[in-house]
Symmetry: none
Subunit: 126 residues, 2 copies
DNA sequence: GGTGTTTTTACAAAGTTTTTACAAGTTGGC
DNA sequence: GCCAACTTGTAAAAACTTTGTAAAAACACC
């Protein structure tokens, strides 16, 4: 162990619409390949690697940009915006804004058209 | 080590209708997700962490707002109101007003349709 | 120098919190 | 029981904060 896996495909993330291979910096949205810039990848990677968790702005600015808490900038917002644009119609489902704190990536979650109460077996017994 | 701690999963509270994860700022009421603002979370957190206890207005204003006793404001009332609104029909069961003192959070307690005197074994013996 | 990327700037828009002004409810003394 | 004093509830507006956005400027790499 400890050797680099050569030609080992590690699909970093995959859901119904989106799959990402961070090693290859490759993202595919509904079978359509989308190209992300370096910073966009870094940002998306951090969010996706912590899917379901809120990541504070500070943490994003620290880990993607190396910025400390003093720095005031809109560059994070601008990048989030471009990411969302490239994620198309699902953007707001994927990248949530947590007001006053930061952002959260959520894996795709199909809308449920039927209530669970309606999904009951039909004529189970005799 | 050295890396920023991102997200700690501690399911803060749970009862029959309500469950709250304060870290994730996630509250679920009867399987429906409700979103609370920061102050609403802070307030609810303090109340819930002392469930069953009366918390004086002073204490709430001090610990959530940092206000001292001199300050006269209705902001606490307004926040309680919005919290109650978001807690829907159970609101008054959850958040009690203790007149002249403060508020108290009570975990959900199903109404009893039968008095304990009525709930006696039926024909236990022969 | 040209192309693509990132950051800044300067507002706009959206969201949150506090205040205001008054209504409604509660309590204790009579 | 009724009244006056006080407390809490409520709606709406105001004040404030955070995030979104477009465009330009700065940067980087070949």
């Amino acid at each position: 162990m400890g050797t680099l896996p050569i030609g080992n495909h590690i699909p970093s993330y995959r859901d119904e619409h989106l799959s990402i291979d961070f090693d290859q910096q490759l993202a595919i949205l509904d079978a359509e390949r989308i190209t992300l810039t370096r910073k966009e990848y870094d940002l998306l990677a951090l969010l996706v690697q912590h899917a379901g968790e809120i990541i504070p702005r500070d943490a994003l600015l620290m880990r993607v940009w190396g910025y400390g808490a003093e720095i005031r900038t809109r560059t994070l917002d601008v990048h989030v915006r471009r990411l969302r644009k490239k994620l198309g119609g699902y953007a707001d489902q994927y990248i949530e804004t947590i007001f006053g704190i930061g952002y959260r990536f959520q894996p795709y979650h199909a809308p449920r058209f039927f209530q669970s109460t309606l999904v009951k077996p039909i004529a189970l017994g005799a």
